[in-house]
Symmetry: C2
Amino acid sequence: MPVAKGATLDPAQTRAGILRAATGLLYQRGLDGIGVAELCATMGVSKETLYRHFGSKEGLVRAVLEARSQRIMAWVLKAVAAASDEPYAQLAAVFDALAQWHEEPTFRGCGILNAATQQHEGPARLVAHHHLDRQLDVLTDIARRAGAPNPTHLAKQFLALRVGATVLADHHADTEAALLAKQAALALLRSTITTPAPAPRP
Amino acid sequence: MPVAKGATLDPAQTRAGILRAATGLLYQRGLDGIGVAELCATMGVSKETLYRHFGSKEGLVRAVLEARSQRIMAWVLKAVAAASDEPYAQLAAVFDALAQWHEEPTFRGCGILNAATQQHEGPARLVAHHHLDRQLDVLTDIARRAGAPNPTHLAKQFLALRVGATVLADHHADTEAALLAKQAALALLRSTITTPAPAPRP
DNA sequence: CGGACATCGAACCGAACGGTTCCATCTGAG
DNA sequence: CTCAGATGGAACCGTTCGGTTCGATGTCCG
């Protein structure tokens, strides 16, 4: 938040404000699409302050991405918890939340995967990997409780549908991608459960 | 290819050589990950030559991406044609080719979608949109010939699986993503065909 | 042979970048 | 009241970037 000149209001609060503002700006403009100077000017913060809190632009990016990953996970878990205990309903809830996200006017794809794509080196790749791990855990749990013979494989298929739909919503302006992905995921779960032999042919 | 000093061998050949070399370099390093100077030095071409052939770095990028899109389409169509006339076999062939691509040591995700993610503005977005259009056409044709009640929707689900698997192969080091996506696509096609009513519930 | 053409190599330009430093200013705690 | 600490504002540095220009060199065609 923009403080007057020399405010000791709360360093942690300043840091949180930078983090929140930078999250949106770096997401909309891309990691290399906005410089530290413009970043600071827009946030109403001096470069020295940013440097003292995050050490470098890369440090800021790392903090932003980790915070974003936490926020997304909380958002997904909340959507799952809001649904009934039925795995089908929870799976549907995950993709319904996805559709809702895609419809936001500021939607620009997954900020974490975008960041990992933008900087081939750097911390973004690690954050993206862990982020996908965590999302996979949620989907694996749903698949397992649904009684899937191979929850891990099914969860990876769900995750592919999820990230694929997000890419299509972004790069193909496909507003129904999430809905179709949801239907595909449900059909997949249904057919996996009802099929007696999981067809061990590769 | 690197010509001695003042060679009039063939301007078109020079252009093609630049295009081929730049394709690999821009793919591996990212659009902003390598400058025009290093690009020219690695290719053994002077900046003036590159500038005369492509006008600007953006012009080079546009040419590279359009050539890449053409190449990918030809590659997909060849894989489809190599399979039997059976839509199931052709769908499997598309994802088998995907798996083969993911296993290449130089694999770095889809170069076109990566480019579109790297430069939020610019021609990459358009190329990516058209590229997805063309891929959708191929999948829609397969779905239609398989007798799907809604080939367009099914094709979008296939495409989501395809791009999702590519993202997972890149950002999650998931070597089996393409195989699982293939199985999911086949199961989806099977269940869509065999299911009498396509469940008009959104 | 001679001139048009393509190319290389190098120097150069202005702008933007990430990062650093200095200092006046304001707040809150003692 | 006083002082340590946090901040804003601005200047500054070295680097890199995309792009431009110029002269020397080599090749092909008439």
